[in-house]
Symmetry: C2
Subunit: 259 residues, 2 copies
């Protein structure tokens, strides 16, 4: 039975994809069998692992959740990391999501699909920045929920919506959730201290690891001039604040949510 972790926050740009790709790659490098499911039609996790889905005719998660009803195992791609497989996404998923909205048991389509794959210690799901049918499917599947959030006004506003949506979806089923503080900066003490005060009622849900805002992390998601594929910062040969932070996240996830 694998651990399924949904990486979610309906606020845009809080570091969900960066966290999903680095957590998945980092756990795989530690020897765990990992599946990363890209549930965002914009397919940023797919690009982040160096797969240019536009250039291929390959089927994606869209054909698994849609009327084609392909088995999940049929669309899995190898990545440069031996223990990491990817279920890629593409823009067709946006249309599939609209069609899913009118199906019976639309909330459990992904859960039924995941139940048929075996051999993974961790399944990581990257979500898009809305609480639509795709995100609800991720929350239904996952027993662990990781919420990347910045120490910023707008990012904190939506947390109570997300937590009450989660509560109503889980309806008594066991689950665990944690907040990951991302893009933490050295300046702006006043603002960040204010944000931490706002989070005080749920401070025991905040992971110890904090991801700093670093240029190296921003650069790691930018294709270079040469056709080298993107490499998640956690796997970088050099040690920097960004790679150290994501390695510490991998360690903390292994402690709190062992396979």
């Amino acid at each position: 039975m694998s651990r399924t972790i949904a990486i979610i926050n309906q606020k845009g740009g809080t570091g969900k994809t960066t966290t999903a790709v680095n957590l998945a790659a980092g756990l795989a490098r530690q020897g765990h069998k990992v599946l990363l499911i890209d549930l965002d039609p914009q397919a940023h996790a797919t690009y982040g692992l160096g797969v240019d889905i536009d250039e291929t005719e390959l089927p994606t998660i869209s054909e698994v959740l849609g009327e084609e009803n392909l088995p999940l195992a049929d669309i899995l791609l190898d990545t440069s990391e031996e223990n990491l497989k990817l279920a890629p996404s593409d823009i067709r998923l946006a249309r599939t999501a609209r069609l899913m909205d009118s199906r019976t048991f639309r909330e459990s389509v992904l859960k039924k699909v995941i139940a048929k794959v075996e051999g993974f210690d961790y399944i990581i799901i990257d979500c898009q920045p809305t609480l639509d049918v795709l995100s609800v499917n991720a929350l239904v599947c996952a027993d662990k929920i990781l919420i990347p959030t910045q120490l910023a006004g707008h990012a904190l506003k939506g947390l109570s919506d997300l937590l009450s949506t989660l509560e109503s979806i889980k309806n008594g089923d066991p689950y665990d959730w944690r907040i990951l503080l991302t893009m933490v900066t050295g300046h702006g003490e006043e603002r960040q201290a204010q944000a931490v005060r706002i989070l005080d009622p749920i401070k025991d849900r905040i992971l110890e690891t904090r991801i700093p805002r670093t240029e190296a992390i921003e650069r790691s998601q930018m294709e270079g001039e040469s056709d080298e594929p993107l490499i998640p910062i956690v796997l970088s040969k050099t040690s920097n604040r960004g790679s150290q932070a994501y390695r510490s996240l991998v360690k903390e996830v292994l402690e709190k949510w062992p396979a």
Copy 2:
């Protein structure tokens, strides 16, 4: 006939709300009659203008686009800026959007509603980070499209999707679009230069104004300890890089898209 400007980018966290609130407030301060429509169920533009919608029983854009069919004029709120009115949003808009999906002419609901209000020089629409029925409605209404984007890998990926969606929606109708570079930093020359090279084919679409990443802008969206409402940085009494940049944006919009 007012100028309708949609602020849109399906990538999350590119500075759409920050730009919508500051452009609207800046144009109003120059004496133009402005309406800001919050089309994001997360209602960040509504909070950004100091309206705590959770505390009120007020109707929002959700009741205008939904089956209640309220006139837009009935939900407009005054703001601290004399020439600026707000059409607030709230989380109910997410459910309204799902119901809109099955209506006939679902793409033109907002256009019909806006046609009935008068007296505004500019109508600014803040969009959520997806290309769903709400964003399509904004694109159908707007004759000007402003696309805030960061000089970052993921943000550039989605531009071609957005531009082809726009092309198919407008289907021959006149419109104009511009890109606004946001959160531009002093470091990371290599990454930003690479990003500008990727944008080269559409470089004449990039506005001259570039919005720097500043702590003052980030702080301007964070509620303080005291109950003072949030003030858009463009209206700040002190002059700083953030307020100057947004004042330059107001000027450039008035030049390129006069009322």
